[in-house]
Symmetry: C2
Subunit: 389 residues, 2 copies
Amino acid sequence: MQFVIEQEKLNAGLSFVARAVPSRPTHPVLANILLFADQANQTLSLTAFDLSLGIYTRMAASVEVGGRCTLPAKLLSDIISRLPQSTIAVANAIGEQSVTLKASSGEYQIRGMGPEEYPELPQVETGKSVQLSANALLEGLRRTLFATSPDEAKQILTGVHLKIQAGTLEFASTDGHRLAVVQTENIQSTDSLAVAAETTDLEVTIPARALREVERMVSLGSLDQEDALAPMGLRLDESQVIFEFGNQRLNSRKLEGAYPAYNQLIPQEFSSYIDLDRRQLLGALERIAILASQKNDIIKCTIDRDRQMVCFSAEAAEVGNALESLSAQISGDEPEEVAFNVKYLLEGLKVFTTSELQICLNTATSPVILRPLGELKMTYLVMPVQIRS
Amino acid sequence: MQFVIEQEKLNAGLSFVARAVPSRPTHPVLANILLFADQANQTLSLTAFDLSLGIYTRMAASVEVGGRCTLPAKLLSDIISRLPQSTIAVANAIGEQSVTLKASSGEYQIRGMGPEEYPELPQVETGKSVQLSANALLEGLRRTLFATSPDEAKQILTGVHLKIQAGTLEFASTDGHRLAVVQTENIQSTDSLAVAAETTDLEVTIPARALREVERMVSLGSLDQEDALAPMGLRLDESQVIFEFGNQRLNSRKLEGAYPAYNQLIPQEFSSYIDLDRRQLLGALERIAILASQKNDIIKCTIDRDRQMVCFSAEAAEVGNALESLSAQISGDEPEEVAFNVKYLLEGLKVFTTSELQICLNTATSPVILRPLGELKMTYLVMPVQIRS
């Protein structure tokens, strides 16, 4: 194996795939990155894989002699990231696991492990294939990933549920206490890449961890590209999904099991509506949260229809209490009081981007809906907290 | 107590004094900040004190009723920092430990503790008093604080030793493995603030922790002021030092015991001199350090006088090895090889600011001196590591 590559390219590639390197590898070779120098295509590809999430990227390189090797991810990234912006010559002798890196002033030998020990990324040969709007994907992920459950025991709730239909993408996430649902249009900017007809009515639940990397992949892509983003390819079979974006590929297992029928949980009618300024509400709740954090994060919301004001309060006997009042547009008669876990409210408000939002209520114990008022189609459901009065 | 103050001022003051609030207070009241509203002077002062380090600041406020109270530092800072930029009204009833904060939209009640429980900051009534150039102090602290010992058992070595003479300030720090000495001119920019004659030949060792806050105090001050900085007042007696800078004051205990006679350790003659580009050396050592970190941080420096090159190398049998070569101006014949702990070299090079530096050597086992080449008067002594060959 022998090739020359620009430091910047290799560094970007390494930091991209490194996210799939497990911090506690079940097998030593998984702490490594697989390098494949392809002489025919004059490319270098990098692969990292923790047996659940796999990330692959390919970049141009001057390949003199093709070959494969694996090198310790952290050591390699640490060295490459500190080399000056110039070319790096990489070589190893046939059958040797030690690789030499030569840069302008320095020479590094790193011991790797045999590439034959590195597991293959799962392939999706048969199965379905769709094109997704990268922008729509980014929009949806940014507003649903936060509401997934971090608890591995909750299985299917650790992922985001994706419903792909001809013209729309629906994202849903819930941890059992709150639910975020986002609808975006799945429209490509170029005709040649129009959504394939076969894509209708596909549903899949994908681990949040993999989708965070998809979000990152698209975000980084949008920095490089001035125009609309290229579409994201998605292939899937019984157990695997593969995202394809330019020269990058991300493999993940699917989450098994039926995703909760969340649309049934969303009330269609409400007894009260409250319209509020989002930034003011966010500021008030962030302050109230300081005192609420001393007592289970619970805050009380009092709706004053006469003065068209909403008051949020928190009490922590030993420490103090807090009261924030906001003017609002309130319609409907019920309820007068409702209590929340302030963390759930805050997390939802942070992904809204509109200047105003609406809170929709029925009773003090039934699901409450928060919606951004404006272009974004998002429904955020929060269960109130029951308080003894 | 009753006063009105701007959110920005109060917030800046709180984050300044908060550094002296202990994370694990030995007495509950020390987790609080002491507020003193002074009606006669129309000021609010804030004090935090962990019984070793005390920080005090004073700011303008509209004081209706004077008084004192103490409030939990973290809770207070968290709330004040999140309030909008406007005025805040602060009040408590006589004899009440609960304080009310009123801002534009919110109202907060915080329980404090009686101000009579809060310990007094030590006073320095008699003793010596000097004026220091704030810029000189900043220069010196920035280049010596890093070399103090973090080990509390090492007592006097946990501080920076200051030698104050008529026109100069000398700073020294050592942890037993390396020594940093900086000389700066102690000259005020305004005549009226010229150094007092009584300031000659004063020596004191001050804990690094307190000096880091002094550094911060001056750094923040230099952001506010466009011209040269106001001088720093230093008063000291047998056990205490007080730094005074504008409306701010910092108390610290002195470190007791004799500081090592460090000047005796610095060789005056050398057998070899190596002049190097500082940035190139820093880059090379940072890369070498990655491999050296796998094996006690030891690197070998080989001096090639024929080629006028210096090579740095590290070997970690299981992992790999690294070699960096730099062109240099080398004079003198000895030694050919010398080994270092790369961390000590790196920490020193990072506080140098000149484009070139000089390494001065005698033998492979005698103290090595690094000096910035240029305006800065700094001596950095590092003990080589003995290696078995």
